[in-house]
């Protein structure tokens, strides 16, 4: 039987043009299937580990998913801010152990700027309750100090001591830079694999300071307050975007959440990060399943093409089959030959698809980072192996009809085909 693989290969190579096209179709389908699976898994992992240890995230009333998206993942724009006074009132609740205010809205060369307090670096956790660590330098102390995430420092080549300027909004519009008030990098964080790496951290007072001479979101011409002078002003923030909450008793979370949601002074929303993420996955899950369904349909199309190609080629191969039968090939040889062919095309399609996905994972890092995803893993996961196995089985199944038909034809033709 070892003759068969060699024969199958030689025969397939002889028909490499038509088989090659179906191979391309199968490969594309496999690439699509694997990509969807890999991105899905990476997104889930990376989102799930972005925040840990916080019981609640509180912001101006909006949808829970949107709140988590902009406060934790820096995706999307915050719709509204909440008053500093409201924050103070709520944070005074004895059930709350700690709270960390967050202020978003500025950026530095495309990277979001987060205004917060030094408590952020002690209370914020990610992954499996990992704290933030400084790779270099210290946490900010002065007004114009900044702590950079690992990716910001690495991509833009900053070191402790460098000067940077921030821009208002996403920095796209000209004239929105706060270049009269430069910041000094005093610390760089160790990589976390979360959106923290892409963030520039400054103090809350600094956010107030750079907007002192701005009114309504734009600088006022002729009205300028210099950096040296800002200290004289009251730099308590008027509003913040959101704040994180940690409780003494985690079981109290429902009660505190309800209290915040019914806060009389202003409409607020408190979400439990885990629950909001689950909600996000439910929504995304529908899209995921749709994408998976489309991928499987593409595979079905590719495999149908393979079956059609094999069936169409059978007429030409009747002589080939007759010769083989004369030499002593039996039913299992004929069937085996065709099943090997469909199996080989599927296997090759799977391997090439895997190679394509790995290539994309290796070089597509920038594209993914724009969506808040850490790099895609290069290795194959168990789920992906199962998918490939399923593709292979389908590919083999596709060969059954042509194989059976070839055998029937060879029976009818005998040793001397009439053609």
């Amino acid at each position: 039987m070892s003759a068969l693989p060699r024969l199958a290969l030689a025969s397939a190579w002889n028909r490499r043009l038509s088989l090659g096209l179906t191979l391309l179709a199968v490969m594309l389908a496999a690439t699509l299937l694997l990509s969807v699976e890999r991105i899905r898994e990476a997104a889930r992992d990376s989102f799930a580990q972005s925040v840990s240890g916080s019981d609640l995230i509180v912001g101006a009333r909006t949808s829970p998913v949107q709140l988590v998206l902009y406060s934790v993942f820096r995706l999307g724009e915050p719709t509204n801010n909440l008053d500093w006074a409201s924050y103070q009132k709520i944070a005074a609740d004895p059930a709350i152990a700690w709270s960390v205010p967050l202020s978003l809205g500025d950026s530095h060369r495309g990277y979001p700027v987060l205004g917060t307090t030094a408590d952020y670096f002690t209370h914020f956790r990610y992954g499996d309750r990992q704290p933030l660590r400084l790779a270099d330098g210290v946490v900010f102390a002065g007004i114009f100090d900044a702590v950079l995430g690992a990716e910001v420092a690495q991509r833009l080549g900053y070191r402790v001591g460098d000067q940077i300027t921030l821009s208002h909004g996403d920095g796209g519009l000209p004239g929105m830079a706060h270049d009269d008030k430069p910041f000094t990098v005093v610390g760089i964080l160790a990589p976390t694999g979360t959106p923290v790496d892409r963030t520039v951290h400054v103090g809350l007072a600094a956010i107030e300071a750079i907007h002192l001479d701005w009114i309504g979101g734009a600088p006022v011409p002729g009205f300028n307050i210099g950096a040296e002078v800002v200290q004289k002003f009251d730099l308590t923030p008027k509003s913040i975007t959101a704040f994180l909450v940690g409780l003494h008793q985690r079981a109290e979370v429902f009660r505190i959440q309800r209290r915040i949601n019914q806060f009389a002074d202003e409409p607020l929303l408190a979400v439990m990060p885990g629950v909001a993420l689950d909600q996000l996955w439910q929504t995304v899950g529908v899209v995921e399943r749709a994408l998976q369904a489309v991928s499987w349909l593409v595979l079905a199309v590719g495999l149908a093409g393979l079956m059609a190609t094999m069936l169409a080629g059978l007429d030409q191969r009747r002589r080939e089959m007759a010769i083989l039968r004369a030499i002593g090939a039996g039913r299992r040889h004929i069937l085996g030959l065709l099943l090997l062919e469909s199996g080989l095309v599927s296997l090759l399609g799977c391997l090439l698809g895997l190679a394509a996905v790995s290539l994309f994972a290796a070089v597509g890092g920038d594209l993914l980072a724009a969506f808040g995803l850490a790099a895609l893993p290069l290795a194959v996961s168990v789920g992906e192996m199962k998918l490939l196995g399923a593709v292979l089985v389908c590919g083999l199944a596709v060969g059954v009809l042509p194989a059976w038909r070839a055998y029937r034809l060879s029976l009818a033709d005998g040793l001397i085909p009439r053609s």
């Binding site: 003759a3 002589r319 010769i323 083989l324 030499i327 005998g414 040793l415 001397i416």
Partner: protein, 226 residues
Amino acid sequence: MTPAAIRIDDLLFRWRPDAAPAVCLRGLQVDAGKSLFLHGPSGAGKSTLLNLLGGVLLPERGRIEVLGQVLGDLPAARRDAFRADHLGFIFQQFNLLPWLSALENVLLPCRFSRRRAQRAGDPVAEARRLLAALDLAAPVQGAPAAELSVGQQQRVAAARALIGRPEIVIADEPTSALDAARQDAFIDLLLAEAKAAASTVVFVSHDQRLAAHFDASFALTGELPA
């Protein structure tokens, strides 16, 4: 007395139960090591008889015994194996897989039958020897079969039928596509190699002039026996 290599008794075969008989034969016997010239008009059922001898088809009535084995007693897979082990075939045309080289074509039976591979000793060396004996030089042996002339292809087919010294070689009008001069040369080469291997040869043709080469002759008529 040399045992019969092939023995056919009271054979009847029809393609469909309601059709006319395709092959009808009272009796035929071929002794081991001999060569038989089988002739008859078109439509007499020569090709069908070869399929029956090869075990690809089973008769409606009668018995076909090859090398002492009644083919009807074997299941299909065993018949295929029997054919691989003991029979070599040469057809009128298109004998070879065009995308393999001449040498690889000759080696095919050894890949399907361990017995023939063993009897060939070193299959590659034996293949080359056979091809050389059939007047095919070394450079030709490695060429893809599609590039060979008809005469060359027929000789490669003969080598393939002979490798591993199968007991029976069946040739179905192998010389029809050759010109007269080549025909005799081909038959002489074939019979010489077959004799050296002690194989029985069944040669089918409609050309009576070739009968002289062979030990015995049999006429296959299209008529029903009495």
